[in-house]
Amino acid sequence: MRILLDQFTKSFGRLTVINKMDLEINDGEMIALLGPSGCGKSTTLFAICGIHRVSGGRILFGGKDVSNIPSQQRNVGVVFQSYALYPHLTVAENIGFPLMIRKESKAEIARKVDEIAELVHIGNLLERRPAQLSGGQQQRVALARALVRKPDVLLLDEPLANLDAKLRLEMRSEIRRIQLETGITAVLVTHDQVEAMSMCDRIAIMNEGRIVQIAEPMEMYKNPVSDFVAGFLGNPPIAFVDGVVTDGQFVTASGAMAVSLPFNDGARERKIRLGIRPEFFGPGGAQPVAGKITFVEAQGRETLYDVALEDGQILRSIQTATNTATVGEKVNWGIDVENILLFDEDGVRL
């Protein structure tokens, strides 16, 4: 189902957390609400499912305004960060709870529970209690409970935050698989850019209660609208270098780095900020800068380097593990200026 937030506003007392947000979520799409902690992601999610009343604007499911419809009647499935399983009920009773509330027959409930348990691969756990399950299994039960009554939209609030690294990887693809198999419209709230990029069709990146950019993951990675977005996406993160550009010649305040850019704003001196992703800085780069390796992190297939310029400015580089440079080594690696991101002094992309 298509979800539309129209000038959605939410305040708690005098604190306005979300101000006039517009967001359109297409039918069958999985969208990520990505942003730093406290930017209002959960607030938005809770408004969609009806836990929070909206303070202004409208929320539409399909064509229908649900802003004033109570949670119980919205048909939204929610997976909470803590899973919120009912500890005194078995897995089967947990999953069947929404159906029991709807007074469906026992046989019908059993059939649907079995079907959904099959989908999320927990068919053999139905008689257990939540306390007897691992984190990943609890997550699957929570998903099953959210999906069993065929909701119009599935909301996931930081669903992977409580899992260890290996399970997180596994559940990432599992959640996506289940979403694709059911074709359900889904909203994933996360502060982890890897989750957002790997699981979702589109990302809406938020900062301080506003949506900064909405785009497909790769598009957002390549063409961020601001330094905030550029800094949020990518691991290892992008390095920013502040300086001035005159006639296409960029130089930092200390003069430690000087490159010529494919950007010309005339002879006038202009403050500018470069964003250099680690994959565009290394031995093969076109425009060399002098620096010293201060940190090496071997990741197996790839190795990460921190390179300090003369003035202490850090650039990051990621290379295949065949490179054998070590800490303290002086290097003269180059920057691939064609792929540099340029921002003005307010952080807006040029």
């Binding site: 499912c49 836990i51 949670s71 119980q72 009647q73 939204v76 499935g77 929610v78 909470f80 960060q81 803590s82 899973y83 919120a84 399983l85 009912y86 500890p87 005194h88 709870f97 929404p98 509330i101 709807r102 939540p130 306390a131 399950l133 691992s134 984190g135 990943g136 299994q137 609890q138 409970r145 959210a146 009554r149």
Partner: protein, 274 residues
Amino acid sequence: MTSNYRSWPMILALGVVTIPLVLMYVYLFVDTVTNTAPGSVVPHEFTGEHWRFLWETLPGRPSIYVATLNTFVFATATTLIVLAISSTAGYAISRLNVPFRAFFLAGVMVLHAFPTVTLIIAIFLILQFIGLYNTLIGVILVKAALELPFGIWIMKGFYDTVPWEIEMAGIQDGASRLTVWRKLVLPQVMPAVMALGIFSFLAGWSEFILPLVLAPDNKVQVLSVYLAALIADDNNFDMALFKSVGVFYVVPVIIMFLFFQGKLMSIYGGGTKG
């Protein structure tokens, strides 16, 4: 069972310390079925006469069975009222945005700190005025009211530990707030409800001062008042009879304890961390 220290010295020490207590209990029981000559510590004959209150009504006293029934009604009714109100009020205070919540909470605590005796004259006057003096209902209401602050506090504390998300999940699953409370929240605080129930019942069973002042009549007399009247009666002073009634009075408590101790210990412990 293995232990990394020897247990017999500890058992010995505890045993020695406990002997006087054990002796008291043994004599309490032995004295109810025997007669002992004055000045002796060894009984010289068995007798059932100290338990005569079971088959004959003592002069000037109500039947023991009436008193027992009254005590039972008193303790049960108090417990039910305390449970019903604490489990709902505790929830409201824990979860809903009640106005003056902090004030109310502090007030409840202060109320509980009030010694009953300081209130009893006022309560007596009020009951007399509204016609509930010398009735079980009156004393039940008073006892329940005095137990409530404690009950509400205990229940609030337990409700506070139930995760907020569980309720929100219930709401999302389509349940009304009432259903969420009944089906999802109440089961999580069941251990508290059980414990509070047992404590209220025992408090009611052993309550003395309120029934003594507010419902002293034979019709509505409870066991504690019955017992006290026995020892206060200088004309027919009978220590062995008094002890027998005392044993009779505690037996239900012991039975209840035996029945519930297993339950209280085995109450399901929640938690969903994985």
